[in-house]
């Protein structure tokens, strides 16, 4: 009986809570609640992670510019508005919640085979970061060079054959010169 009572109480609390927390139209998560900085490093291998200055970016961009329909003001993109005009705030606003970090894996591709799925073209996590950041930086004159945001690691230097792995006069030049 005790467990039932407990369950009832929890349900009631949840119901009241959800009504109180239910996003009112037009209301948004306060920018002040957002983190000052976000460390973006889940994918770092060739480059080190990025200490993203979130506070600075909230001053020069609106929430929806990066967070789409998950938080902030109303959706304005005519393609998104078709479904997300009233979809409200999401429980979570982190990029990796929606953007897959194993894009193009078998699992990721088979999920997109669903004929009823609209978001067949949703970028993976790496693509989402770069497409969002670089596209805006190009328009607003922000940094666009690879190492302007994150420094190359040793693994990166090895793959790009630069730094201490750079071709020298003797090792390079195997190129046939076409």
């Amino acid at each position: 009986m005790r467990t039932r009572k407990k369950l009832l109480r929890t349900t009631l609390a949840l119901a009241i809570g959800s009504v109180l927390l239910w996003p009112q139209p037009g209301s948004a998560m306060e920018a002040a609640d957002a983190p000052e900085t976000v460390e973006i490093n889940s994918l770092s291998r060739l480059y080190s992670g990025v200490d993203f200055n979130h506070a600075m970016h909230t001053e020069i961009a609106t929430c929806v510019q990066c967070h789409h329909h998950t938080t902030g003001g109303e959706v304005t993109d005519p393609n998104c508005i078709r479904c997300h005009a009233k979809s409200g705030e999401s429980d979570t606003v982190s990029c990796q919640e929606c953007h897959s970090s194993d894009r193009f894996s078998k699992e990721d591709l088979s999920k997109r085979d669903n004929p009823a799925l609209y978001h067949i073209d949703k970028p993976g996590l790496k693509g989402a970061y770069h497409l969002n950041c670089v596209t805006c930086h190009q328009k607003t004159g922000g940094p666009t060079g690879c190492q302007d945001c994150h420094t190359m690691t040793e693994a990166g230097e090895k793959m790009f054959q630069t730094g201490k792995y750079a071709p020298t006069e003797t090792t390079g030049g195997e190129h046939s010169g076409h």
Partner: protein, 309 residues
């Protein structure tokens, strides 16, 4: 003198046979049209997304264990290189290349990645008389150096100038070209190294049919951003690697005059006649020759018999 076949009927019959043989293979060639493997994979290259970082070039070099380049992969002076008045191209040391295009009226350059397009019906494959090339059900056009004789017909047949010859190994002929990372990745359902390396997701890997859907969706939803065309959907009968661009494709180095059907279609009918020519013509012309020289032969024979008498 009694002949079973008169000269006239013989020629008539011969002509009828030739005509029939010429007409018949046409039906055959239509039935042999190949539209590609249904689950073949591909890559959609979006030029509006590429920033020219050359990560794909570096990843390809590492994956395919290609020789060290002349310049590091983060050296962007390569975009200014010109060789014989041409921008950089693929060769025996690099399966893929990114070139920069300064399009008039555009405030930023566009970048285009070049590699084998992995045609649905590849001209290199059909031109190869030792069958060194294979189009795999996964979508890759792969090459077998063991049977290659180094004739380089594939280099001439390719409409995109992709296969290149390893001149540094003269006695061990070897064509060098992108193989879609078939051995190390595609076979297991994984994307090629270049796709995985691309930070901008300018390269989208997936089933070719799905990629066309994705390409159409991008064009439909952002029509101001794209040319209303997916290069490679129909070019040379369709390619596994396809392209989206914000400017007309000829302004970013694409050959927009390639036919919309496989190169093979232009030679298929001719090639169908070859066996007929090889089998019927020797008999036919030998017959003509025998008939033409029959009088002399009879004359000689009659003279011989007269002499014997």
């Amino acid at each position: 003198m009694k002949t079973t076949v008169s000269r006239r009927t013989f020629i008539k019959g011969g002509l009828a046979g030739t005509v029939a043989a010429t007409v018949l293979p046409e039906k055959k060639s239509q039935a042999a049209t190949f539209e590609g493997y249904p689950d073949g994979m591909g890559v959609l290259v979006d030029l509006t997304r590429c920033v020219g970082c050359r990560s794909c070039e570096a990843a390809c070099n590492e994956e395919q264990k290609l020789p060290q380049p002349e310049k590091p992969f983060d050296d962007f002076s390569v975009f200014d290189e010109m060789h014989h008045g041409q921008k950089r191209r693929t060769d025996e040391t690099r399966y893929t290349i990114v070139n920069r295009y300064d399009v008039p009226g555009l405030d930023h350059p566009l970048f285009r990645k070049i590699q084998c397009n992995h045609c649905q019906e590849p001209a290199c494959l059909t031109s190869c008389f030792v069958n060194a090339y294979t189009k795999t059900p996964e979508g890759a056009v792969i090459y077998n150096p063991k049977v290659c004789v180094g004739c380089r017909t594939c280099m001439i047949a390719c409409p995109f100038y992709i296969p290149t010859f390893k001149y540094s190994s003269a006695f061990n002929p070897r064509i060098m070209k992108c193989i879609f990372c078939y051995d190390t990745r595609l076979k297991e359902g994984r994307p090629p190294a270049c796709v995985e390396a691309c930070p901008q997701e300018a390269l989208t890997f997936g089933k070719r049919n799905k990629l066309i859907e994705i390409g159409r969706q991008r064009i439909r939803e952002t029509p101001d951003k794209y040319e209303d065309h997916i290069y490679g959907e129909h070019e040379v009968g369709g390619t596994a690697w396809m392209y989206l661009s914000s400017v007309p494709f000829d302004q970013v180095g694409f050959d927009t005059h390639v036919p919309k059907e496989p190169i093979l279609n232009y030679v298929k009918d001719f090639l169908g006649i070859v066996p007929m020519v090889l089998t019927i013509w020797p008999a036919l012309f030998a017959g003509f020759h025998l008939l033409a020289t029959r009088k002399d032969w009879l004359k000689n024979k009659n003279e011989d018999t007269h002499e014997e008498e």
